[in-house]
């Protein structure tokens, strides 16, 4: 007996992601799913973003990590609400993990939630977690070949941050090749060359993020 099924394997995750998105949209909150390799500078970008936007934007952070609360502790020092999710070895966050921690945030007071995913260029790209946008961080020291090696995470991103550009003089990173590859994989993503050490490029990132938050608020009203 043959039974036609034709069901999306990630349907259950996508349903929960849609519920999370709906709940956060109703509260007018813009949600970023921040992705990238371990050590690419996701947490540093986040720390800079908190400091840079603190006076204008009310934000909270959900930290995904395999086992530790190290990143959450870094975020906490900046005085923003942070929730830690430990995946216990799991390589990505899924929608249900986000759904279960939402009650611990004061949603009525927030403009922005940044969810820092587990450091990984592969798995997080496949799971929607209720975000408005995915943002992918690639650091110069990882090499310019990564977009073609891990195309999905770059294809899914609304913004790509090329981080640690202050290190360019010390590497053989081919910036033109990186830009060409990212823009052919994903012609619609904005691409920001930034350094969390020197601060270069960060105002452009803040500007883009603020505009997204403003548009989300306008849509929610």
């Amino acid at each position: 007996m043959k039974i036609q099924v034709m069901t999306n394997i990630l349907e259950k995750n996508d349903q929960i992601a849609a519920e999370v998105h709906e709940r956060l949209s109703a509260a007018g909150i813009f949600v970023v799913n921040l992705m990238g390799s371990p050590g690419c500078g996701k947490t540093s970008l986040l720390e800079n973003t908190i400091v840079g936007l603190k006076n204008e934007i009310s934000m909270a952070v959900i930290e995904g990590d395999l086992f530790t609360a190290k990143d959450a502790q870094r975020i906490e020092q900046h005085g923003v609400p942070v929730v830690q999710i430990n995946t216990g070895g799991g390589c990505h966050l899924d929608a249900n993990m986000i759904s279960t921690v939402l009650d611990s945030l004061d949603l009525g007071s927030l403009d922005l939630i940044v969810i820092e995913n587990v450091g990984n260029l592969v798995c997080p790209a496949e799971f929607n977690i209720g975000e408005d946008v995915k943002v992918t961080v690639l650091s110069i020291t990882e090499g310019e070949d990564k977009p073609l090696k891990y195309p999905l995470i770059f294809k899914q991103a609304s913004a790509v941050i090329l981080n640690k550009v202050d290190l360019l003089p010390y590497t053989n990173f081919d910036m033109q090749a990186a830009i060409t590859d990212i823009t052919t994989i994903n012609p619609h993503a904005i691409l920001v060359q930034a350094s969390c050490q020197s601060g270069i490029g960060l105002p452009e990132w803040y500007g883009w993020l603020k505009e997204q938050i403003r548009m989300k608020k306008t849509r929610s009203i």
């Binding site: 007996m1 043959k2 039974i3 099924v5 899924d94 496949e126 799971f127």
Partner: protein, 113 residues
């Protein structure tokens, strides 16, 4: 290894479908996996074998069809195979391209008795 999470999703769908159709033993499962998914087929089969042990889907033959990545240009309506992940239309160079196939992660059908 997120294949385990995907394998669990497959098992959930298979067991639910089998129950709905009074299938006592699942013998075969056909999966559609898009070319642009982050799924390693052998890893997925291994995960499914492990998870399905002791269930009515234990020992089922898992067949995987890889679905090629195809784009459709919204400007000139050209359909084209996406090569080297270049999502620009090869005919008119437009960046407005919709992915027609290649992102599938689906259970197409199952066989049982």
């Amino acid at each position: 290894m997120h294949e385990m999470a995907i394998a669990q999703g497959i098992l959930d769908i298979v067991l639910k479908t089998a129950a709905e159709n009074q299938v006592a033993k699942v013998t075969g499962i056909k999966l559609l996996i898009g070319q642009m998914t982050q799924v390693e087929p052998e890893c997925l089969k291994f995960g499914f074998t492990a998870l399905s042990m002791g269930s009515i889907a234990e020992g089922a033959n898992v067949e995987i069809k890889i679905v090629p990545l195809v784009g459709l240009c919204n400007s000139c309506r050209q359909e084209f195979p996406v090569e080297n992940y270049c999502f620009l239309c090869p005919k008119c160079n437009s960046a407005s391209v919709t992915v027609v196939s290649g992102r599938e992660l689906a259970v197409e059908y199952l066989e049982g008795e």
